[in-house]
């Protein structure tokens, strides 16, 4: 999923304090799972903002809506009849949802309520960790199912570097060395011979290096 984290409330206040009618728009997908922008977080943020503005003697109306998704036209259309009631929208979706909202409602100010962080997993409740950088050319078949691009601080394809120590990365003793994990798994799979295969220079044109990307699937287009 796309993992996001809450923005500091001070930052959100600064963005919206000039308005009178604000909609907080949640998303029922990834940001719900990572507890940053679902219905529950929409409610918490709305309460906190109401309290802040009441305490500061400001008349501010804050509504709450959580959509199924903010990355599909059909769900964003659900608020078309209501959007004009608001001076601004705080979207708690990932950066994708915020932008899709902005594209759809051209003249409506849209503010991000979360920081979009990475593609990752729920390690445990309250701990999400990165697994993928969407390079567009998956190499996991050759790295025992562990991605050095997203999990090595230097995205080294022929690792580990000289900074791997006791299974941890040189930049942080709490961070697993991706190449230690790869070696451990190659061993478990009985495929240590694969370690000595040289990874050739990667084509990064499918990564962000190639500019904004798109996937075109004519077979499923209507």
């Amino acid at each position: 999923m796309i993992v996001a984290d809450k923005k500091p409330i001070e930052e959100i206040i600064q963005q919206v304090e000039a308005y009178r009618n604000v909609l907080i728009l949640g998303c029922n997908e990834c940001v719900t799972v990572c507890e940053a922008g679902g219905k529950k977080e929409v409610g918490i943020l709305a309460s906190a903002l109401r309290m802040y503005f009441i305490n500061n003697g400001k008349d501010m109306r804050i509504d709450e809506i959580t959509l199924e998704r903010q990355c599909d036209h059909e769900y964003l259309e659900e608020i078309r009849d209501r959007i004009d009631k608001y001076d601004a929208v705080i979207s708690l979706a990932c950066g994708v949802g915020v932008q899709f909202m902005a594209e759809k409602y051209l003249s409506k100010p849209i503010y991000p309520g979360v920081n979009t962080c990475f593609l990752g997993v729920t390690d445990k409740r309250g701990l999400w960790t990165e697994r993928c950088q969407a390079c567009g050319q998956c190499i996991l078949a050759n790295t025992a199912g562990i991605c050095p691009i997203s999990r090595c601080a230097k995205r080294i394809l022929n690792g580990p570097c000289g900074g791997s120590s006791k299974g941890k990365c040189e930049i942080n003793k709490d961070l697993d060395c991706a190449w230690q994990l790869i070696v451990d798994r190659l061993k478990a799979l009985g495929r240590m011979d694969d370690y000595e295969k040289l990874f050739s220079i990667k084509d990064w044109s499918t990564d962000r290096a190639g500019g904004p990307r798109k996937v075109v699937r004519e077979d499923v287009q209507i």
């Binding site: 120590s165 040189e170 930049i171 050739s200 220079i201």
Partner: protein, 311 residues
């Protein structure tokens, strides 16, 4: 043994001599005097001088310009190049720039992570890694081709090196990793500083058993300790460094003012012991901000005078 480049370092190694290299860190400024002074201090005691490339990710004068300074003094530089700061365009471009000044040695590195340095909030590049940099230089030199496939007018003639850290984890892949670098085309290796001699000797024994020491020249890395504080710092703070407790104890047991001499003595003893280890073809003396001690280390270990090779 035949040589592939005009590199003096390559010729010395090919002739079967124990090579001696050292390194100079460029200044945090544009004054060329520092490089020239350090070059003068060590030039008669070493065969080639590495110029570090923004080591520990602290911004300094670029390695290439500092190498040119040495070259203009008639010395033999080793251009250190990290993949952290350059994409494949900049890498090939800098290699050509170095080749235009007839810089004949390159050390291919990934580089310390930028979070250690003075631009911790910056991006890193890592378009290619250190092994792929080895492949890149070899392709440019041997095939005379850019990565893009076009021919290079006057290809670089560089003796290609890399670093290896026998003390990093996991230990079991340190020798396979050396094999991988050899497969990528590396011709000489300068190792991480050696304080744990037993572990180094085990590593090189395993490399010997796979025949790797026949295929690559390994220069054992040494760094004289200035104080017990430095020893502790290296042990605890420098990634991938292995400083055994008995080394710390030995330094700690000496009065502070005599610790620098003890550090030099340890360094000399290390070289003496490793000189006879099969597969060690030379020494890389990294006297960090202590270049004036290189002469003493080289003289005391019988590595002076340096051999003269024809060009």
């Amino acid at each position: 043994m035949t040589t592939k480049t005009p590199s003096k370092l390559e010729q010395i190694l090919a002739a079967g001599h124990l090579a001696v290299t050292s390194e100079v860190g460029p200044p945090r400024g544009s004054n060329p005097k520092h490089i020239e002074e350090k070059g003068h201090l060590i030039k008669d005691y070493v065969d080639a001088i590495n110029i570090t490339d923004n080591q520990t990710s602290v911004t300094r004068m670029c390695s290439l310009a500092a190498c040119i300074r040495l070259k203009l003094m008639g010395l033999e530089p080793v251009l250190q190049m990290v993949t952290r700061d350059r994409n494949r365009i900049a890498i090939q471009s800098d290699i050509l720039g170095a080749a235009s000044f007839d810089i004949h040695n390159i050390l291919c590195l990934s580089g310390d992570h930028q979070s250690f340095g003075d631009c911790a909030t910056g991006q890193n590049v890592h378009d290619i890694d250190s092994m792929q940099l080895i492949q890149t230089v070899r392709r440019m030199r041997d095939e005379g081709k850019f990565l893009g496939g076009a021919d290079i007018d006057r290809p670089p003639q560089m003796f290609v090196g890399a670093a290896e850290n026998p003390f990093a984890d996991p230990f079991e892949i340190r020798v396979p990793r050396l094999a991988k670098k050899i497969a990528a085309g590396v011709e000489f290796i300068q190792t991480q500083c050696i304080y744990n001699l037993d572990k180094f000797e085990l590593w090189i024994k395993l490399a010997r058993e796979r025949g790797l020491t026949e295929k690559v020249h390994i220069l054992a890395g040494v760094t004289p300790l200035k104080s017990v504080g430095m020893a502790r710092y290296m042990k605890n703070r420098v990634p991938g460094m292995d400083v055994p407790d008995d080394v710390i104890k030995r330094m700690a047991g000496i009065p502070k003012e005599k610790q620098p001499q003890e550090g030099i003595d340890i360094c000399v003893e290390t070289i003496e012991r490793l000189k006879s280890v099969e597969g060690v073809h030379g020494f890389h003396i990294m006297a960090i901000e202590w270049e004036e001690k290189v002469a003493e280390i080289v003289e005391r270990t019988g590595l002076y005078p340096r051999p003269v090779v024809g060009n």
